[in-house]
């Protein structure tokens, strides 16, 4: 790992001030991707600004129909939290399926969203559920966050502070995990509200995305009698783990699997 400076700010303001004075800084959350990438010398920030030293970013609360999750909440904390278990139980299951126990102890929801790994699990939940990403200076609509592979619409010196999820009538996420990494080869998240259903896909493309036709069909008729092959394999990833045709088929298979849990 290359050399860098390390900072431990007490609050968001201090973190932003440090950021603005550094050459090539990076914010550090759980570090489960960032530190691994630095070890491999894929990235070499001049400064790491540790957000875990900021105290009020790891709360979980319920207000009316909205669950607010602090960005620095670990996957483990989310998977064991009573508010989440009693309102969106399958979200706690999503959290408990990420990586392995030691990764879940360190990795955070905000870090996962900011990293925008197309095969990560949280982005699918963010897209499917009615949700907002709250940062130090604005609220971002869930549909605008993920712009490309490992890219978001976040500005350089913007920090996610919390994620707001509206409690749905139904939510579930099922992935076909890579057996080694547990990243999704394909993952399907479905959220049902009174008059809208959203189907979000992870792992299949260069960025998580909403399956439009499936979402529309399920909004009209919420049953597992879904239209098949609505997503062309031309748009999907192809690698040593799965061909694009296989991924296209997995989308239908997993969508049905999720619907069977309704």
């Amino acid at each position: 790992m290359y050399q860098f400076n390390y900072h431990s700010p007490k609050n968001i303001e201090e973190a932003l001030n440090i950021y603005n004075t550094c050459e090539e800084p990076k914010f550090l959350a759980g570090g489960m991707t960032l530190i691994a990438s630095m070890k491999q010398r894929l990235i070499a920030p001049s400064d790491l600004i540790d957000l875990r030293t900021i105290s009020n970013l790891s709360e979980i609360s319920l207000n009316n129909n909205i669950i607010r999750i602090g960005s620095l909440c670990s996957h483990d904390k989310i998977s064991n939290n009573d508010i989440i278990k009693s309102n969106i139980v399958n979200m706690s299951k999503l959290a408990s399926g990420i990586g392995d126990p030691a990764v879940r102890n360190m990795g955070t929801i905000g870090g996962s969203i900011a990293n925008s790994d197309p095969a990560a699990d949280w982005p699918a939940a963010v897209l499917a559920l009615n949700s907002n990403i709250v940062t130090n200076n604005r609220e971002i609509n869930n549909k605008e966050v993920f712009t490309n592979m490992f890219e978001t619409c976040l500005e350089e010196n913007e920090i996610i502070t919390e994620i707001n999820f509206e409690i749905p009538e139904f939510f579930n996420y099922i992935k076909f995990p890579n057996p080694a990494s547990r990243y999704a080869i394909v993952g399907v998240a479905i959220a049902k509200y009174e008059n809208k259903v959203s189907v979000a896909i992870s792992g299949a493309s260069h960025t998580p995305f909403i399956a439009k036709e499936l979402s529309e069909a399920l909004t009209m008729n919420f049953s597992d009698n879904i239209p098949l092959n609505t997503i062309s394999s031309d748009e999907l990833n192809e690698d040593i783990h799965a061909s694009s045709e296989y991924r296209a088929n997995l989308i239908d298979v997993l969508t049905k699997k999720v619907l069977k849990t309704y």
Partner: protein, 161 residues
């Protein structure tokens, strides 16, 4: 690049040091403190041979910087045996031949104890699922699972949970 000054408690001993920010916990433990019980298997946070306790939770020491642990407590495999008496989980691994080469064992034991602290009566499938982040290339896991079942029973009997 500037050193950071840290205070970290390792195995109940308070250590104050100036350290370069790019030092990983595993390297600090092994090279600096000569605590070589925690191993480097893969160095890519897959294998779990480097697992240590960060307070009560198990983390991979290859994937965290010492600088991130200022004011925190770390406990390693070396801290489990007390006055010549093995921890019940260590004893269970010995009784059940829960290791062959032993390279993954420190991580396996830390991981197993962290499981039992959360769930004091884990069944076989819970144990196997929990071991996702711990790779063993020798045993085929059978005896590791047996060891953890016995270790959990012993820890429960002793009220060590």
């Amino acid at each position: 690049m500037h050193e950071v000054s840290i205070q970290i408690t390792v195995n109940d001993k308070i250590i104050e040091k100036n350290i370069m920010p790019n030092v990983l916990l595993i390297d600090f433990l092994r090279e600096e403190l000569k605590l070589t019980g925690s191993h480097v298997g893969c160095d890519t946070s897959q294998c779990g041979a480097c697992m240590v306790f960060y307070d009560e939770t198990a983390i991979k020491a290859c994937s965290i910087l010492v600088a991130q642990l200022n004011g925190k407590k770390i406990s390693t495999i070396e801290n489990l045996e007390k006055d010549g008496v093995l921890h019940p989980m260590q004893e269970a691994f010995r009784n059940n031949h829960g290791l062959q080469c032993g390279f993954c064992t420190p991580g396996m034991i830390i991981s197993a104890i962290s499981l039992v602290k959360k769930n004091n009566n884990p069944d076989e499938s819970t144990i196997r699922k929990h071991l996702e982040g711990n790779l063993c290339r020798c045993t085929g896991y059978q005896n590791i699972v047996k060891s953890i079942e016995e270790g959990a029973n012993k820890m429960r009997e002793l009220g060590d949970i």
